[in-house]
Structures are given as structure tokens and as C-alpha cells.
């Protein structure tokens, strides 16, 4: 096919537009990182400066003096644990929803999914009061458990979908040989469902890491997570932009890395298999 002159121009437009998209997506991150490398004086320059001598002092202050390092570790422990728990509880449930027939299945499925839609504010205070009664305030375990309200639905939705796409004949063949449901689940379906499991794990991790409201209400010192810490810098007395951006960068980097790894599956996970 001969290249028409219109095609060349179309290609140029395409290149330009894609570049604009890339810049638009990436620029705020660029700004975040550069601001984090500025001293307070530089950060408050008006108009803002683009070329300057960078400093790592914000990072060192924030990590070691202000305790952000500890909160990052908390975030990590909470996110990993709650993801593991969600997977452990959610996979069997997803399998059941995909394979078994029983009354009320649709409603059950709907209930699971609705949990993801609940605004955390609805649960925040009751949770606070209940948790206080149990003496579990400011513990990571509390966060790990309450994050299940959105992690479990994610795992279930994605994995139900995944299990359903595994051919039923494999199940049948195995059960003819006398395998129990559990064995079928464990040895046949699970390995084939790994992509879905991986994706849901990554999503559960990302959402847990990013969570703010429960962390604000239910933790104080010991179990404080990184996003809660970032918010506490915005007190009405100081504008430590450099430190705030440094904390933000530290918070955002792990999730971005994960998201890039999962980028192929990101959309699927976010729509939870709605796109067919």
C-alpha cells in the first residue's frame, strides 16, 4: 500500500498527542520529586525554580527524624498481611461461587461486591469504638482485618471470573477419578488461576497501601501507616513542602512499581472482569 501524504501527517499528529498524554501523566510526579529535593527556602520561591541544586536533606529528615521510615514499614507489613489473608479466605470462596450451584448465590455474590462500594466513613467510628473495647487500638492487626472489607471483594471478584474461565471438563475428569472438591481446587484449578490470583494480590496490595481513612481513625503511633503520616504534615502552622513531597514520593514509589509490573492486568483488575 503506497503511503498517502495524509498518513504521514496523521502519524505526526499521533506522535504529538501521545507525547502530550505522556507528559500530562508524568509531569506531576516530576514536580513531586523535584520539590522533594528542594530546601524550604527554594521550595517557597516565587515563581518556582526549575534548575537548582538538589539536596537529600528532606529525605533524611523525614525518614529518620520524623519517623516516616517506621510508618513505611507499617504500611508494608499491613499491606502484605492483609493481602495474604484476603487471598487465603477469598480463593476458596471464589471457587465456590464459580463452580457450585446453590440458592442465594447471586445475592451472596452481590453482597460481597457491595462491600467494595461502602464508604469507609460508614464503618470508621463503629469500628473505632468496638476495637477500643477489645483493646486493639493502634495495632496493625486491626488494620489488617478491616482492610478485608475491600480486599476480600477484590480477590473474590477477580478470581471468580478467573475460575469460571477454566474449562469444566478438567474438573469432571478429576472427579471421575475420585478426587475431592478440595483436591480439584488445589491441584487443578488453582495453578491455572494463578494469573488472576497474582493480579488480585497486586490490587489488594495497592489499595491497602493507599488507604487513608481507617488508618487515620484507628492508629495513633505504633501502627501508623505512611499515608496517615503524610497528612499530619499539613498542620496549619508550617508549610514544609519539601518534606511533604519527600514523604509523598516515598509513599508512591512502591505502588507505582507494582502498578507498572501489573500494568497489563491493571485494567482488568480495576473493572474486575466486567469487560468481556
Amino acid at each position: 500500500m503506497a503511503a498517502a501524504p495524509g498518513t504521514r501527517r496523521a502519524a505526526v499528529i499521533q506522535i504529538v498527542l501521545m507525547t502530550v498524554v505522556i507528559l500530562f501523566c508524568v509531569f506531576p510526579f516530576y514536580w513531586m520529586v523535584t520539590t522533594s529535593l528542594k530546601t524550604q527556602v527554594l521550595a517557597l520561591e516565587s515563581p518556582p525554580v526549575w534548575l537548582f541544586e538538589p539536596t537529600l536533606s528532606n529525605y533524611t529528615t523525614v525518614l529518620f527524624e520524623d519517623g516516616v521510615g517506621k510508618t513505611l514499614i507499617n504500611s508494608l507489613i499491613v499491606a502484605v498481611s492483609t493481602t495474604a489473608l484476603a487471598i487465603a479466605l477469598g480463593l476458596p470462596a471464589a471457587y465456590a461461587l464459580a463452580r457450585f450451584e446453590f440458592r442465594g448465590k447471586k445475592d451472596l455474590w452481590f453482597w460481597f461486591i457491595t462491600n467494595r462500594m461502602i464508604s469507609p466513613i460508614v464503618l470508621a467510628l463503629p469500628f473505632f469504638l468496638i476495637v477500643r473495647q477489645l483493646g486493639m487500638l493502634d495495632t496493625r492487626l486491626t488494620l489488617i482485618l478491616i482492610y478485608l472489607t475491600f480486599n476480600l471483594p477484590i480477590v473474590i471478584w477477580i478470581c471468580t471470573d478467573q475460575f469460571r474461565s477454566i474449562p469444566f471438563e478438567l474438573d469432571e475428569a478429576a472427579s471421575l477419578e475420585g478426587a475431592s472438591q478440595w483436591r480439584i481446587f488445589r491441584s487443578i484449578c488453582l495453578p491455572l488461576a494463578m494469573p488472576g490470583v497474582a493480579v488480585s494480590a497486586i490490587f489488594a496490595f495497592i489499595f491497602s497501601w493507599n488507604e487513608l481513612m481507617f488508618a487515620l481513625v484507628l492508629t495513633r503511633n505504633a501502627a501508623k501507616t505512611a499515608p496517615a503520616m503524610a497528612v499530619s504534615f499539613m498542620e496549619g502552622y508550617n508549610l514544609p513542602y519539601g518534606k511533604i513531597m519527600a514523604t509523598s514520593t516515598l509513599i508512591v514509589i512502591p505502588v507505582l512499581v507494582f502498578a507498572l509490573i501489573a500494568s497489563r492486568h491493571l485494567v482488568r483488575g480495576l473493572t474486575m472482569g466486567a469487560v468481556k
Partner: protein, 291 residues
Amino acid sequence: MSARTPRRTIFGFLGPAVIALALIGIGPLIYAFWTSLHFFNLTKLKKVKFIGFENYAEVLTDPVFWEAMGRTFTLLIIALPLQIALGMGIALILHRPGLGFLKTLTRLSLVLPMATTYAVVGLLGQVMFNLKYGVVNQLLGFLGIDPINWIGDPFNAFAMIVFWDVWQWTPFVALVLLAGLTTVPGEVEEAARLETKNWWVVLRHVQLPFLVPGLVAVLILRTADTLKLFDMVFTLTRGGPGASTEMISLLIQRVGFRAFDQGLASAQAIILLIITIILAQLYIRLFYKEV
């Protein structure tokens, strides 16, 4: 499907998840409902008393509540079409053949905004849109536009929220629609392109049917998430100036945790929950035919 799965097996598989979610999800809800039926103010615990549905009556007749709901839905109505339009555009651009490297780069860039911690988006917004130190005003200055007061002006603050919502979720829409576009059978699309050069026609008649599931998913999720929206607005404007960016979650948080009227806040939260469930039911039963 399999016939006659023993009950025990079903419980075994589903049990743990159901129990966990019931304890964590339903228990607190019941408590919240109980609270909403009482006058329950944290600083006046000696005066807790049962008042039936008075809190609900107050909420439903409170203009502040409806204004907050209104703002939240206004945000949805403005941001969602923008996200769809822009997302569609991006998806179409990425759908064209060629330029593999740039396309991969673009796809990877699109992933970044979606995964960003919402609280960080708000903080970033404060830094970038600052009247004096913000880079946005600096860039506008290059175009000859006077510095705009973003955070301090009620209208501009709302515009800023819209901007960041669009920034964060347009990529999502774009990727969903892109995935939808790839499900269009190649021959059909080629045939259509041979018939007309007009991309709009191709879009409307050939590609659209394959995009519907994705659009529905977007609709459901964005609605639910907008009703939940808290982190970004909280860190960006705290609901101000005045009440111009006070979304429903912020209102509930303010009533419950700053004015300490837990009874009222619980009633508001329950009403919000009911609205969310109704909408979710509506969407899913109308559109989503999977289970």
C-alpha cells in the same frame, strides 16, 4: 455446573470468607445503625438517649446534607463525561497501528495516575496549584494569563477537584476502552475502514457495541468511587473554602469527628450507604449479566 455439591463442602469453601466479612462488615454496620437511632455525642455521653428516627428526619431535611450530595453528584456529572471523552480519544490514538515503542511508553504512563495514593494527589495539588509557589500559575503565566487563585476561590477550588479527578481516572477509562477496542474482530473493523474514512462513523457503528461493557463498568465504578471520595479532597482543600468542596464523605467526617455528633453522622452514613446500594443494584441488575 456440578450437581449436588454437599452442603458441607460449600460451607467449607465459602464459610471463612463469609464469616470474616460478616464480622468485619456487618457488625460495625449494625452498631452504626444503633448509634443513628440515638442522640449520641462523644462529648455528652451522659446524655445518650433513644430518639428513634429523629436523626434521619434531621438529615433528610438538612440543606447542608443535600448540598454536599449535590456537590458530589455534580462532580460526577462533570468529571465522568470528560473522562470518557478524553479516554476515548486516547484509546483511539493507541489503537492505531504502528509506533510500538511510543505506544508502550504511553500505556505505561497511563498506569501511573491510577495507582497513586489519593492522599498524595491532594498534597501534590496543594503544591502545584499554590497561588504564589505553584508551577501551574507559572506555566499559565508563560501563556500570558494572570495568576489564578485556585485554592482560595470557591469556584476554582471545585474546578481543581474536577481536574485531579480527571487526571487520575481518565487513564483508567482510556485503558478500559482500549481493551474493549481490541475485542472488535479485525476483519469487521478493516471492512468498515475500507468503506469510510470517517473515524466517527466507524466508532459509532462498529466499535461501540464492543465498548458498552467497558463503559458500564466505568459507570458503576466511578459512581461508587465518587460517592466515597475523601482522601484527595481532604488533603487538598479540607472541604473549603467555605463549604465549596465539601463532598458527602467530608461532611460526615466533619460532623462525626469534629462536632462529635455520632448519632447524626451515623444517620448520614447509613443514608449514603442506602443510596450507594440502590445505585449499585440498579446498575448491576440492569447491565451486568454475568452471574
